[in-house]
Symmetry: C2
Amino acid sequence: MIDLSLLSDGGMGWLDASGPHSDLVLSTRIRLARNLAGRVFGVRNSAGEREEILTEVRAAAEDVEPLDHAMLIRLDQLPQLDRQLLHERHLVSKDIAGLDPASRVRAGSALLVQNDIGVMVNEQDHLRLQGLKSGFALEAAYDGVNDADSELGQRLAFAFHPEFGYLTSCPTNVGTGLRASVLIHLPGLVLTKEISKVLQGLSQVGLTFRGLYGEGSEVVGNYFQLSNQTTLGKSEFDLLDHLGKMVQQVITYEEQARQVLLRDAPSVIEDKVWRAYGLLRYARSLSFEETMNLLSGVRLGVGLSLVPGLSLYALNKLLVHTQPAHLMASDGPGEVSGVEVAIRRAAYVRQTLEEEAGRAA
Amino acid sequence: MIDLSLLSDGGMGWLDASGPHSDLVLSTRIRLARNLAGRVFGVRNSAGEREEILTEVRAAAEDVEPLDHAMLIRLDQLPQLDRQLLHERHLVSKDIAGLDPASRVRAGSALLVQNDIGVMVNEQDHLRLQGLKSGFALEAAYDGVNDADSELGQRLAFAFHPEFGYLTSCPTNVGTGLRASVLIHLPGLVLTKEISKVLQGLSQVGLTFRGLYGEGSEVVGNYFQLSNQTTLGKSEFDLLDHLGKMVQQVITYEEQARQVLLRDAPSVIEDKVWRAYGLLRYARSLSFEETMNLLSGVRLGVGLSLVPGLSLYALNKLLVHTQPAHLMASDGPGEVSGVEVAIRRAAYVRQTLEEEAGRAA
């Protein structure tokens, strides 16, 4: 089994709640799609070509400061549980991890990772660089990825068109190849039923939203990934600036919604928050979806200073560690039933909250 | 406001969980209906006659050992909140307390109470003697009431017909005038869906069931009052013996149902019990009905030894103290909204469970 402790912070520095606006924004992610000139795009190339691409990218990475000590994880040589673990830590996409029921992990699929910079090799595009930061930190996340991209670009010939920009496997990524996304917790807007208006407004200004795990994933626990919808015809600076301003606006709306809740229904909110806490603290079986929803309530309570002595870091860790692969792997390898996963999830949550209560006391 | 602390145990000795089978049976109640010969029955008599009856009964009670130090509570001189308090402690019926929306408290309505013996004067019948005991204790409860009845009967001429027995206001009470009832907690039979079969069986052998507060009250929290349906044509001994045997049978069924639950769905039951505990421990607003249902879950957990360090006495006290009048009176007199009652209820429950957890730790 893969040893994730070899990664810096287990690959989870992004959830340490150290970044700006960490009460609302869990993390900021920048992704750049790049392809090698003269090579068939990822969806149509052969296993042999994919292997060559991986060799080429590895060689370039070794010369590049942000990646010269990168750990190589060959996804095509990992069992599914390990690929799922990496996906649950937001280090690889569902696609490259071969987790879709219809797909399998493809030959040459790999992850290079060093600190908070990762490069997926042989995903839909030949390279997908990603940087994850705690909190609302578009600039910092971009700087890290941009640095790695520039350095790699001096050693690898990226497919680039003078008029369109970077060429990518899917036309929606052509141009900058950049997707910037912010994972934000919006229970106030959901509870005040303002959320659909806000999301509609975002789509009108070229932004889109997804669930916790990117494209195709459902919204659970009131966590929304807000990101730019297109990358063509705009500079990286403009894209980030626009997204940044819009997210700042959403943060303001969310804060206003919370004040409305506190003003109009303080006892209802307090009751909701503490019931969620009580269930998480004592339940003996929890589904992932229920856990997310209850954690959302508790996180709102922490944000409103209703629940003392509970750290955002602990809540963020719960988001990752209560996912199926983490729970299945928690007691060593071997088949684990869904019932057992739900029992383990409840035990993990209980233990974490007890530790937090003990720490606070 | 009435000072219930003047009563022995606040009139709540019956819930101290000291009696036999206290985990399942909260209390046993014996009631004897008696009327004075030559006087109009309670429903049709005048205020003046009712006053005379009260004077006569008080005089007799003073000469009688089980009642010679009885406290007299004139219900007709009490505000509604106090009458409701007495009803919530099971010391007076809804009828004599004038709590039905359609009725009012009638002139001369009073309660004489000494230790666990009470006499309602000017209820539907001129006298209703009642004895309440903790747990499953038909004989002990009967002995106390029977003693008071015999002594009073030597000083008062009770309406008695040589063929029918004691005459009462309602024909269903004619004969012995005895109603024996056992308040029993049957979550196992409810969860295994065996309860309707059991209740049907009881009705076929002349027993009936009611909710926590006797006639017309709904079953909440899986608490059932099992009692004899008729009193005519059978001796007191036969009635008690029959009820006792049937209740013993129900206890066995309930214990079997619990074993089935533990065998077939241990993790479901454990989860259910601890979720109930978690909500009671942390909710900030609780309705009476939800409280009863959650307490039922926790009580089941205590019975199955799943929840350590929580006393039956504490759970029994919660049954009484989470009722509306107790909560309304808890912070002195004055109008209290339903929202405030629900908040006070949650606070009281929380405090009790915290104290219990502290005591156990």
